[in-house]
Symmetry: C2
């Protein structure tokens, strides 16, 4: 999979290399999509989120980690290290697999949910300190942040650099900033 990407990744070759009958593989993973999500679950490294009290910094660190992780999965199966095509790679296949099989969808959503639950606590704490607007759920705020990243990755294909992440966080937190620092800093 990491060698040739999703297309060049054939079940027949997997069973040949594993010296295993195709029947056995299909007993464990009932489709190629199931196998894919199991692979990604292995590849995915843990993302931890700090909770230092500086919500701007915490969010920036977290989103940067997510962005680099996505960029890494974007390049899975491409040989050229600097391959600059605007493709979502394996993430797009993951999304499609989740849409095809309900149980795969549950698994994929569970994967993302574990990662995405992390910054909710810092967000809630920041709101308690008055660093976030009231009346807006942390979930919506998080949807905007993560959504912008996935939107660029999957839909527009626009690059996701460190400056973009910073601009994103600034825009979301601008309410709180103008509230606590009316001079706009």
């Amino acid at each position: 999979m990491t060698e040739r990407g999703y297309d060049g990744f054939a079940i027949d070759e997997v069973v040949a290399r594993a010296s295993v009958a195709k029947t056995t593989l299909y007993r464990r993973w009932p489709s190629k999509d199931h196998l894919l999500v199991a692979l990604v679950a292995r590849i995915q490294d843990e993302v931890e989120v700090a909770d230092t009290g500086d919500i701007r910094r915490d969010l920036t660190v977290y989103l940067t980690a997510v962005a680099t992780g996505l960029d890494r999965m974007r390049r899975v199966g491409r040989d050229g290290a600097g391959e600059a095509d605007r493709s979502a790679g394996v993430v797009a296949e993951l999304v499609a697999a989740a849409a095809r099989h309900p149980d795969v969808g549950d698994a994929v959503r569970g994967m993302f949910a574990r990662r995405n639950a992390l910054p909710l606590r810092p967000l809630d704490r920041a709101r308690e300190r008055g660093a976030l607007p009231t009346g807006i759920s942390s979930e919506v705020v998080f949807d905007q942040l993560a959504g912008a990243l996935y939107y660029r990755l999957l839909i527009t294909g626009a690059p996701i650099g460190a400056d973009y992440v910073q601009e994103l966080v600034d825009q979301v937190l601008s309410t709180a900033t103008t509230a606590s620092h009316p001079d706009g800093t």
Copy 2:
């Protein structure tokens, strides 16, 4: 395609119903993915965006139209009208197709770009009126809005109701509101 969804949509049956040789079809659309994006380009209806001067209302109308359009595409190929499964349906296949073939990716990005360029002008005009924070590009603002919708559709599978759209717009515009109405209304 609209009858049975992406899976039950077989090239062999298409050419049979069209009374056309498979060779001919493949001369026009060099893969099933190419055919898919051509179909979606036909299905996709035009979304127009108002520019009344009330940016909050304009954005809400636009995003609601986008959300209902996505929800319609989400149900393509499912018989039950009230089919409430949390699947991204044809949109996910579109994203995967765009990731597989570079030219399909260009076409899909072009489709989305045409729709997404629409609200940029009202956003820019609103900023000129001081109804948006300075220093933040309209593109980032739009990424947050559209991104949240696609994120819910493709990743979390969470529902996208009218109240959610409203909450989204309110959060994004809260900066401007507090700036022009410091009492918080």
